[in-house]
């Protein structure tokens, strides 16, 4: 063996190999797949999973899990639409919603750390409370509200040919990478996820670290909901539902351990890309949503297997 590759890097690399292979295959099958217009569209789609999966990555790295993502997405999209219809400036509404998302995430984090409620249960609970609120504000799953111009601008506008949302996403990914790699918080997060008791004994502020990840997840999910509403042009209660699965699937495909302590956001970016390419690829084979589900499942198994082999080779 040549020089050892760090374990985390190789698991991430495996995710990119899966993603790139799929893209190459799709391009061979249909040359228009790699056209600028189509890639732009893929980037926009991927960014929804990317943001929903950003917070999920941080939470999972810390040994937790956030199942409230779909409802926070619906909250982001619907509340923005409602406030904008009521005359609130969209910029202010977006900032407020990020804060509210973070606050709900904070509640999740405090429940998990201080009340010692299992993350699955805590986030199901707060998610359902948000769902109840959204039903209360008078909108059931069948009705929809129109998304404001600002959210549509985020998704539709381009800078130098690249969708604005993709630039924001890349920016967020770089910031996340920097925070995870270069800050005390990042190192503490990996330590907490790897072994909470040891991290605590080593003086890591475990509670603060974990609470922060849930707050970040809340804000990121609300932002993903805002983007999604901007893309669809409207917001409705069930809009976040598919992201319960895809936010976690992107992290798993990205090579992170669901037990915490190992993984990277770049992996999740590849996971989001993989899920998005598959969703775009299968219809070109006249395959339905049913086949997409099956392929999603198989790809998770494949990617998890690949990252295991990569780790074994590197370790």
């Amino acid at each position: 063996m040549t020089a050892r590759i760090p374990r985390r890097l190789s698991a991430t690399a495996a995710a990119y190999v899966v993603c790139a292979a799929l893209f190459a295959f799709a391009t061979i099958h249909s040359s228009s797949f790699a056209s600028a217009g189509h890639v732009r569209q893929l980037l926009v789609f991927a960014s929804f999973i990317g943001f929903a999966g950003l917070g999920e990555t941080l939470v999972i790295l810390g040994g937790g899990l956030d199942l409230s993502v779909p409802w926070l997405m619906a909250l982001g999209g619907m509340q923005l639409s409602i406030w904008s219809a009521g005359g609130m400036p969209s910029g202010l509404a977006i900032v407020l919603l990020l804060a509210i998302g973070a606050a709900i995430g904070l509640v999740n984090g405090l429940g998990v750390t201080l009340l010692r409620i299992p993350p699955i249960i805590m986030t199901i609970g707060t998610g359902a409370l948000v769902e109840g609120y959204l039903m209360k504000v008078g909108l059931n799953s069948s009705s929809a509200v129109t998304a404001p111009k600002a959210a549509q601008t985020l998704v539709e506008n381009r800078v130098a040919g690249i969708p604005l949302v993709a630039l924001v996403w890349i920016g967020a990914a770089i910031v996340t990478w920097w925070v995870l790699k270069r800050t005390v918080f990042g190192r503490s997060l990996y330590a907490t996820g790897a072994n909470e008791a040891v991290a605590r004994l080593a003086g890591t502020r475990v509670v603060a670290v974990r609470v922060t990840t849930y707050a970040a997840s809340g804000a990121a999910a609300a932002f993903a909901g805002i983007l999604l509403a901007g893309y669809i042009g409207q917001a409705y209660l069930a809009m976040g539902a598919p992201y319960l699965f895809s936010s976690i699937a992107a992290v798993a495909i990205g090579g992170a351990s669901v037990l915490g302590g190992s993984g990277s956001y770049w992996g999740t970016v590849a996971g989001a890309g993989t899920l998005t390419i598959l969703a775009a690829l299968l219809p070109t084979f006249n395959l339905s949503n049913a086949a997409l589900n099956i392929v999603y499942g198989l790809v998770i198994l494949l990617a998890v297997g690949a990252s295991r082999i990569a780790r074994r080779g590197a370790g």
């Binding site: 299992p118 249960i121 409370l129 475990v206 699965f245 049913a290 499942g297 198989l298 198994l301």
Partner: protein, 331 residues
């Protein structure tokens, strides 16, 4: 505690632990359920009727079965995210393959039950022999079985044989069949808990490496756990087909999080090894009666969702309170 124990000692300890620690949580759940039933009957006196309660049980039964399936996975310190999708897979099989078959041809149900078992065994094999985390393995199979269900039946529809519908809405002697179904679930758990397999499941869930050191075949036990989980989830799909008289391929996801909530409200520990299906049945009934109470009070439907969530958070907070207080200085 000694690190070495014979399998028999280990077995008694495993059951001893579960029996010794259960009552506190169990009685809390029982009291909660009784209080809710009393409140519900006070609001809606018509409910105090065998048939009325039977109808309520009938609506709750798919959730009861899924919670039972989930409980087995959780007891072994795992989780089964695929319970809802296994349910819809057998559900659409009933709706598409059995439509024209009546009466004595009901043996055709056997292969459909086997599909549920096979689905569970796939999970079990991935987890026990593939070495995947239960969360990841069933995350994948969640998507796969949802896809299979959609492949078999793309939209709601199909036809369900009247034999199955009659089984669901009918009576066994004087007793409405939902009672019998719940009784069968409870009896299944009663026997399982006392069987060597049940003891092994609890032992694996409470401490896997110790169970292994005591000669328990951990892998085979897990294979059994997920196989049984698939069996029960598959039966839930058949029941759902009978209750709704149609196939509903997209209904599975809505059942997933409630199945976990019911397990936890009942008092089964997500850390594995402690709890039981009986508790989870009560957990489902707690959620069912809260929803029914809200409906009977003529409150809007969002109140039921908020009340269920609040109950979940309240119950787990109260349960974890002793933990929090005893370890006050650590965080």
């Amino acid at each position: 505690m000694s690190a070495v124990a014979t399998p028999a000692e280990r077995a008694t300890r495993a059951t001893g632990v579960s029996l010794g620690r259960l009552p506190r949580g169990q009685w809390g759940t029982v009291l909660l359920l009784v209080a809710l039933v009393v409140a519900d009957v006070a609001v809606q006196p018509n409910l105090a009727d065998v048939d009325q309660i039977g109808l309520l049980l009938q609506t709750a039964l798919p959730a009861v079965l899924l919670a039972a399936a989930q409980t087995l996975a959780v007891l072994s310190r795992g989780v089964d995210l695929s319970v809802g999708s296994v349910m819809v897979t057998t559900n659409v099989l009933v709706a598409t393959k059995l439509g024209g078959i009546e009466g004595s041809h009901m043996w055709a149900i056997v292969p459909i039950v086997a599909v549920g078992v096979a689905a569970g065994l796939v999970n079990g094999a991935l987890i026990a022999y593939g070495g995947l985390e239960p969360f990841v393995a069933t995350l994948a199979s969640w998507a796969i079985f949802n896809g299979v269900a959609l492949l078999i039946l793309p939209t709601d529809g199909g036809a369900v044989p009247t034999t199955i519908t009659n089984l669901v809405i009918g009576k066994v002697g004087p007793i409405p069949s939902p009672y019998v179904c719940v009784a069968v679930v409870l009896a299944f758990w009663w026997f399982l808990r006392r069987s060597p397999l049940g003891v092994r499941i609890l032992a694996v869930g409470s401490d896997e490496s110790r169970a292994f050191l005591n000669g328990i075949d951990v892998r085979r036990t897990k294979l059994w756990v997920y196989g049984m989980s698939g069996l029960i989830a598959g039966l839930a799909g058949i029941y759902l087909a009978g209750a709704t008289s149609s196939g509903t391929p997209a209904a599975g996801d809505g059942f997933l999080l409630p199945s976990l909530a019911a397990v936890v409200i009942g008092g089964t520990s997500l850390a594995g090894g402690r709890g039981g299906i009986g508790l989870s049945v009560m957990g489902v009934l707690v959620l069912t009666f809260i929803t029914d109470l809200v409906t009977n009070l003529q409150l809007p439907s969002w109140v039921a969702i908020v009340a269920n969530a609040a109950m979940l958070l309240l119950v787990v907070s109260i349960r974890s309170l002793p933990n929090v207080l005893s370890r006050k200085e650590t965080p």
